[in-house]
């Protein structure tokens, strides 16, 4: 298996090719895009662990692009490499949630270290039909260098479980018409070691649902709204 799947976005063809050559040498799988639109197309078609972003590009700048990417696949960690570091572009990139903003000409050893950390970062799956709740968890976990995938329905949750291996899953009991229990069952089949948390607005229902499972399948049942300490416990 590849060391990681990296999407490289830069409007300079030579720079794209160079990053790709270096990363391929180290066993990474790379895709290349010259602008925001083609990068988004690739993200829609394929899973990536990390996106390397240039800031100034024709059409869409790197910060805007990362914002668009995280709507399609929020589990892609963003690393920006820019000739403009220090300007408000760098701040906008951080605000959008990129993990690093590095200045061109980039210190390659440093960049490779960051890429390695990002590809090895724990993956968290959040399954909840409450979009605002998902966004809040994404921000909180992304800041602590977790990569966070989001699903809003039972079907999407099950689909995402079969796509990647998650270290942590946070699943809402009630998913519109769907049932969080089914998602957890699937997680249990795919990767039994996943630390799974069941969250619900109704603690009693959640506890009785959790009793369907063998002990140790569900790490904890948490009541919404989540308290900061229970989030910390999940992450610990």
């Amino acid at each position: 298996m590849a060391a990681g799947r990296i999407l490289i976005v830069d409007d300079d063809e030579d720079i794209r090719a160079n990053f790709s050559d270096i990363l391929c040498e180290l066993g990474y799988e790379t895709s290349l895009a010259g602008d925001g639109e083609s990068a988004l197309q690739l993200v829609r078609e394929k899973e990536y662990d990390v996106v390397l972003l240039d800031y100034q590009m024709p059409g869409m700048d790197g910060a805007t692009l990362y914002d668009a990417i995280k709507k399609v696949r929020p589990s892609i960690a963003g690393i920006m490499v820019t000739a403009w570091a220090g300007s408000d572009g760098a701040q906008r990139a951080r605000d959008a949630g990129t993990w690093e903003v590095l200045r061109k000409p980039v210190d390659i050893a440093e960049l490779l270290g960051k890429i390695q950390l990002a590809t090895a970062a724990p993956l968290v799956l959040v399954v909840d039909d409450d979009h605002a709740f998902c966004q809040m968890l994404w921000r909180l976990l992304n800041e602590r260098r977790f990569r966070v995938a989001i699903a809003h329905t039972e079907e999407d949750g099950i689909r995402q479980v079969s796509n990647s291996e998650y270290q942590v899953a946070i699943v809402d009991l009630k998913l519109g018409q769907g049932d969080g229990v089914n998602v957890i069952r699937r997680i249990q089949q795919a990767v039994p070691s996943t630390k799974t948390f069941l969250v619900s607005g109704n603690l009693r229902n959640a506890i009785s649902a959790s009793q369907e499972f063998e002990e140790a399948v569900i790490e904890a049942v948490l009541e919404k709204p989540l308290k900061l300490e229970s989030i910390n416990r999940m992450l610990g």
Partner: protein, 376 residues
């Protein structure tokens, strides 16, 4: 009539607002009116029979007898028949400004002088206040001017700093990008375990290409810093346009058409004109990155040559139009904003000029107006 007119005259004298003093040839006061008593603060008895010099401060007080003697001897009048502003002295010793008009009268074989005196203290006060106000106003204007000059100096300083920031930001970007490519190629060549010969050659070529990019940036900067005097000569427009089109990398989704009169020749520096054409074609390409057509044409019009570069690109916004030839102004993600500034500067030195028409989302046409080349 005679007695009546005398009574009327007496009344007039009595009621006059101005002081009226009648003296004889030796300067002895013969008669005064009421206004004179009020003005000077004396009784009639104190005045009539005294020398008129008592109403004057030094040095006139001492010199008045002499004035009268001079006048009698030479007829040389200092005041008589003229009237002027002088100082007068009141009974309490205070002086005050007056307007004095003196006329000479002869009656019953004797010479008299009549002085009509108006107190102009109020006028003088107003004048002084006016002068003071004027002075204050002038001081305020001076102070304000000083403040404005200071503000302007600060503005120029901060503008210079802003420009400097803009320049260094643009240069930093244009140089760091190629440096990044060079550094990553070097890293690859150093660290790749068994790179193929083609890979090595590819990376060396990239390094070379990116070093040229940095060199271009520095050339553009030094070009604009000291644009050399043009060596105007016969310019073969079809050839220059063909070369310029060939020097610009054009994506396949872009159509370029060249339509130029055969043997079209302009009078300009061919090397500098190439820079203009290349910049305009490059701009047209950047404006049509989503695909489109660039039409380059050259025609002769009397003694002028007109070269046009028309694109079907994004167009120029009104707010950008005023600033497109401003150095360091750019709307592109890459570029320092020097292209059109250089074009304008070059054409100015080559008896030409640049004009532009643009419609948003429809396209832009740049016209280069040049002088036709004439043999000899």
């Amino acid at each position: 009539m005679e007695p009546l007119s005398r009574a009327v005259l007496a009344a007039v004298l009595k009621a006059a607002v101005d002081a009226i003093v009648l003296i004889d040839a030796r300067g002895i006061i013969q008669s005064v009116n009421t206004a004179a008593l009020v003005m000077f603060g004396y009784n009639r008895e104190e005045l009539v029979g005294s020398n008129v010099s008592m109403l004057m401060p030094s040095p006139y007080h001492e010199e008045h007898d002499q004035y009268l003697q001079n006048f009698h001897a030479t007829g040389d009048a200092k005041i008589i028949g003229i009237g002027r502003e002088v100082e007068a002295r009141r009974a309490d010793g205070k002086t005050f400004p007056i307007h004095l008009a003196v006329s000479r009268v002869e009656a019953e074989g004797e010479v008299f002088f009549t002085g009509i005196i108006r107190d102009i203290s109020d006028l003088k006060n107003t004048e002084a206040k006016l002068a003071q106000a004027n002075e204050e106003l002038e001081n305020r204007v001076k102070e304000r001017t000083r403040q404005l000059e200071q503000t302007q100096a600060e503005l120029i300083k901060s503008e210079k700093l802003a420009t400097l920031g803009h320049v260094s930001g643009g240069i930093a970007h244009e140089i760091r990008n190629p440096l990044n490519a060079v550094r990553t190629s070097v890293y690859y060549l150093r660290n790749a375990k068994s790179p193929s010969e083609e890979k090595v050659a590819e990376h060396l070529k990239r390094i070379d290409r990116q070093v040229s990019l940095i060199d271009n940036v520095i050339t553009a900067l030094s070009d604009i810093a000291r644009l050399p005097e043009p060596a105007t000569n016969r310019c073969d427009i079809p050839q220059l346009l063909t070369e310029a089109i060939g020097s610009v990398t054009l994506p396949s989704r872009l159509q370029i058409e060249l339509e130029v009169d055969d043997g079209l020749q302009a009078d300009a520096d061919p090397n500098q004109l190439s820079i203009v054409f290349r910049n305009l074609i490059r701009n047209a390409r950047d404006a049509t990155s989503a695909g489109g057509t660039i039409r380059v044409s050259g025609t002769v019009d009397g003694k002028s040559v007109l070269v046009s570069v028309a694109d079907t690109g994004v167009g120029i916004r009104d707010e950008d139009m005023k600033r497109i030839t401003e150095p360091l102004y750019s709307t592109k993600p890459r570029g320092m904003g020097l292209g059109l500034a250089i074009c304008t500067a070059i054409l100015q030195k080559n008896h030409g000029h640049l004009s532009v028409e643009s419609l948003l989302d429809e396209g832009t046409t740049f016209h280069v107006h040049l002088k036709k080349y004439l043999e000899g």
